[in-house]
Symmetry: C2
Subunit: 213 residues, 2 copies
């Protein structure tokens, strides 16, 4: 593996574990067992490393976000879809730990991240719209818009919020609960019996939690 790639890989790991602010270029060099000078040969400091890591994240996240869901009404498919989205965020969690301050330091990331969030909103709106058109749920336009916004917010801050509440949070459990929190909002709008839907959903979550334990 090339030194440049190793730098990216271990930087991501260090950033996630220690927090980007607590990692110095020298730290990265030490973990890789190379000299600081060598690090600077490949990247002119932390900034370009972070930039590249964001580009990687952006690409992966967009890919997952736009992945066509074949059976939008199949619970397990939707579950996996949201699960993977949360997982992407977990993989690059250093970025969310200090979202504001990182984006302020790298203005061009700011607008890219903003577009990414907007992409989330439109994708969520489209999913909710499909559920409505196919007759699975029945929802007013205003409520659908609000729900799409809410989904996007939860898809941004849920993992961070979990860490806030419990630092030692086991990731899969936390993600499954996040997915449940998202999907369960559909309950009152489900045409064919909300109660039944919620029961099914809760059973499904418990099954997933048991599996990941």
């Amino acid at each position: 593996m090339k030194t440049k790639d190793r730098i990216l890989q271990y930087s991501l790991q260090l950033f996630n574990e220690e927090g980007e602010q607590n990692v110095t270029p020298v730290d990265i060099a030490n973990v890789l067992d190379i000299s600081p000078g060598n690090l600077y040969y490949h990247f002119k400091g932390k900034d370009p490393i972070i930039h590249q890591l964001f580009v990687d994240f952006e690409e992966e996240f967009r890919m997952v976000l736009t992945a066509p869901i074949d059976k939008p009404l199949e619970l397990s498919d939707n579950w996996v879809y949201f699960y993977i989205l949360f997982e992407e965020i977990a993989d690059f969690r250093f970025f969310y730990r200090n979202l504001q301050s990182i984006l302020e330091r790298y203005p061009d990331l700011q607008s890219r991240f903003r577009r990414l969030v907007q992409h989330k909103v439109t994708t969520m709106a489209s999913i909710i719209g499909t559920l409505d058109r196919t007759g699975f749920i029945s929802i007013s336009q205003i409520e659908a818009d609000q729900m799409a916004e809410r989904f996007a917010l939860q898809l941004t801050y849920w993992p961070t919020y979990q860490v806030l509440l419990d630092s030692d949070v086991s990731t899969p459990v936390s993600i499954h609960n996040g997915v449940y929190g998202l999907i369960s909002q559909l309950t009152p709008y489900v045409v064919d019996g909300g109660d039944e839907f919620l029961t099914l959903l809760t059973e499904f979550r418990d099954k997933m939690l048991k599996t990941s334990k």
Copy 2:
């Protein structure tokens, strides 16, 4: 006004405007037109200042959170209640800008903040419970719990999320939209006609937006 209080006041302002990380003790001293040495006489650096500012925030927020709502079914009262909660957060927004990293730096703030969030959850659960018991809404226990969690999350991250989407966001407008986003979630559970409730709520929001413009 005592120097110690002036330090707190201007530190808060600087932190909010520039971001805590971008403000040095010397910056604070300069704004106050005092010497760095004098600043260190009152506070041993930025850490104790931040600590004191958090204590102030915590106290104010708890006070607002537990303020008894006399008429929990009166729309305008509820609106103001949530509005003020968001406003508190806006007043100490520097804290939320780097929530994770600040809490990691000050471990005792971490547990205090966690308790504050839990307080939010229980308060929201209690409000939703009251609405259910008084017959304004009808909601299952599971959904009520999920909604309380969601309210707490939104009551933590909505202002941050707004800044993420639009740095120049005019605060009162953004807050009103946040309150709308919270309360409108009740719609499908309103016993006495959700459509009517949503219409009323939307009109109310537009009135508030016009007033604050």
